[in-house]
């Protein structure tokens, strides 16, 4: 019983970590709470399904087209709409939820409300410690680890990473130091949605997708990001595994109340927020404290 719980926690936590770190990055740098984040994820999964099942494309070109397509869609939405209302946090929340609804309705009109799932990228499964694990699950774990390390290296070591961190810290000063803030924000949005696209590529064969799928991971990802502290990538990765563990434990220990997993995840978030109002690793600026 312990081994399946660990394996499920790791795969689920990996996907949540990809989604949550993208969302957290966008919030930390651009101060946008992107409620359409999991909707981009859903669009990506539909892209994989459409290209591989309907068009019969191979996995490599489907992956490339999906990730690039989702990223471009994110950049378009940011450049045309979000950029305009960036100064009003409430307007951002509303406009992103409206975009999620637009994607949902378009997918509903285009492909109907059927359950869809893409073919596995690496079919088959193997035994690990006496538990059967699909190869796709292992692929998810590997890719998540690689992506996280690459992102950490980019943020710590490259010039772009320094520009992103400087903008997150103080956009005005970053601007004075010769960093183009609008361009950095655009690139950050691109990275964030690309992470959602990668998560979509990985999960398209594992989850069952339908046009309302964005809602339940959204609440989980929000719980993770808030629990870890908005804007902290370390916090969202750790939060992702905490929430994944909570969800897995609920599913394994209370199988007849599996739907309660959201409730327990949200309860975990409320408890953390009551103790630390800025999340585990979030920063609250002195002037904002009350």
């Amino acid at each position: 019983m312990i081994v399946p719980i660990i394996i499920r926690t790791l795969t689920l936590g990996g996907v949540y970590a990809l989604l949550a770190s993208g969302m957290s990055l966008i919030f930390g740098v651009a101060h946008i709470v992107n409620l359409a984040h999991t909707a981009f994820f859903m669009v990506g999964a539909y892209g994989m399904w459409f290209l591989m099942r309907q068009q019969g494309w191979g996995p490599i070109e489907s992956i490339l087209v999906t990730v690039v397509g989702v990223t471009l869609l994110g950049l378009l939405v940011y450049r045309v709409f979000l950029n305009r209302v960036r100064q009003h946090p409430q307007a951002i929340l509303l406009i992103t939820i409206a975009f999620a609804l637009v994607f949902q309705e378009l997918l509903l009109l285009g492909f109907g409300s059927h359950f869809r799932t893409a073919p596995a990228l690496i079919p088959g499964s193997r035994l690990i410690l006496g538990v059967r694990v699909t190869n796709q699950d292992l692929l998810v774990l590997g890719v998540v680890a690689v992506v996280m390390i690459v992102m950490w290296l980019v943020l710590k070591k490259t010039k772009l990473g320094i520009a992103i961190r400087a903008t997150a810290n103080d956009a005005e000063i970053a601007n004075l130091m010769g960093i183009s803030v609008p361009r950095t924000l655009l690139i950050t949005m691109g990275i964030g949605t690309a992470l959602a696209g990668v998560a979509a590529v990985l999960m398209a064969p594992l989850w069952v997708f339908y046009p309302y799928i964005w809602m339940s991971p959204l609440t989980m990802v929000l719980a993770i990001v808030v629990l870890g502290g908005l804007g902290s990538i370390k916090g969202s990765v750790i939060g992702a595994f905490i929430i994944a563990l909570v969800e897995t434990l609920v599913v394994f220990l209370l199988p007849q109340h599996g739907y309660m997993s959201t409730a327990f995840a949200l309860l975990a978030m409320i408890i953390v927020l009551s103790v630390r109002p800025g999340g585990l690793f979030g920063t609250i600026f002195e002037e904002e404290r009350l």
Binding site: V33, I95, V102, E105, V226
Partner: protein
């Protein structure tokens, strides 16, 4: 007394197009059943009245006080379930269960705001988003009390005929909106809450520094918002005569926000107009060829309004047809050359 009211009407309602339109609108709502007493249009306007209370209560809490609540359906749901359970277990009638259910919803508001008091901005919004989800899963976990998925059925009707139900909801709506309007009126001499809510939204620290106990007023705002949200929920349950898990839906919370933003945030009349324009429009679309696209159209409308008309459509129109006198701050019709009271020139006052 009557003469004074008439004079008020003649001098401070007739010359201002916005107020005149409000009066015409309410008179129209009162005589509507005489013009058309078919069941379906009456039901739509009845529901629009209920949603108007709901949207205005969100505006009071989130627009005025600035505590942006993403889970307002919590109050709607608690009000609906509260009054339904009071009927189921105590056999009380709607005139008692709806106010009691609303009081329970106000209590729920106080309870939710306890963890929320320390949070602000997006943290607060996301925390409040969690509560209706939590409660709906709790309601689902105890099917013998709440009826689970199916909910509680067979609630008593508000009145015997559709017209009776229509007038009950209309009058409750007008009274509730008037109370909330008075509570948020920053210029009022008798009630301080309006000014204090504005102060908390604009700058909470300064409000504290001037000696306002902001915690107490935030709790009050949550309680008032919860109370009127609960009234809307209770009415809704007794109109449909059934209460299900749908009253906790995230979509209902966002629907309220969409109506308020469409009409105009921080303006009690904006949400009312938002509901009475958007809700019947969506219902009318349902039967037609574009019914399939109605959610898409709604979402696109929200995006366009937010990008190009962030102050809301009702506020925008009001700014177009009314102009404030620069000297005595009275509202005037936009086409007047001089202020109606002090005859200062209005020609150089900019739009809006």
């Amino acid at each position: 007394m009557l003469k004074r009211r008439l004079n008020d009407f003649r001098w401070s309602v007739l010359p201002i197009p916005g107020r005149l339109m409000a009066v015409i609108f309410f008179v129209f709502l009162f005589v509507f059943p005489l013009i058309n007493d078919a069941r379906y249009p009456l039901l739509i306007i009845t529901l629009a009245c209920i949603y108007a209370i709901f949207a205005v209560s969100w505006d009071l809490l989130s627009g005025y006080t600035g505590q942006v609540n993403f889970g307002h359906a919590l109050f709607f749901g608690v009000g609906a379930y509260g009054s339904a359970l009071l009927y189921k277990y105590l056999g009380l009638q709607p005139w008692a269960t709806i106010p009691l259910g609303a009081l329970i919803a106000a209590l729920a508001g106080v309870v939710t705001c306890l963890p929320a008091l320390r949070l602000r901005g997006p943290y607060l919004s996301l925390l409040t988003l969690a509560f209706p989800l939590l409660l709906s899963q709790v309601a689902r976990a105890f099917p013998e009390v709440t009826g689970g998925y199916i909910g509680i059925r067979g609630l008593p009707a508000l009145a015997a005929s559709p017209i009776g139900r229509y007038y009950v909801c209309l009058i409750v709506m007008i009274v509730s909106v008037l109370i909330m309007w008075k509570l948020t009126d920053a210029g009022s001499k008798n009630v301080r809450t309006g000014l204090i809510f504005h102060a908390i939204r604009e700058d909470e620290i300064t409000a504290r520094a001037t000696g306002i106990n902001t915690i107490r007023y935030k709790i009050l705002a949550f309680a008032i918002g919860g109370f009127f949200g609960g009234i809307a929920g209770g009415l809704f349950g007794h109109i449909l005569r059934t209460v299900g898990l749908g009253v906790f839906a995230i979509s209902l919370s966002f629907q309220a926000i969409i109506w308020v933003v469409f009409g105009g945030i921080v303006s009690i009349y904006g949400p009312v107009i938002g509901v009475f324009v958007l809700y019947p429009l969506v219902e009318l679309m349902q039967g037609t060829a574009i019914g399939e696209y109605r959610n898409l159209i709604m979402a696109v409308i929200v995006i366009l309004i937010l990008c190009f008309m962030p102050e809301g459509i009702a506020v925008r129109i009001r700014d177009k047809i009314e102009r404030q006198c620069p000297r005595c701050k009275l509202s005037n019709a936009a086409w007047r050359r001089e202020c109606r009271a002090c005859s200062a020139s209005l020609r150089h006052v900019a739009d809006g």
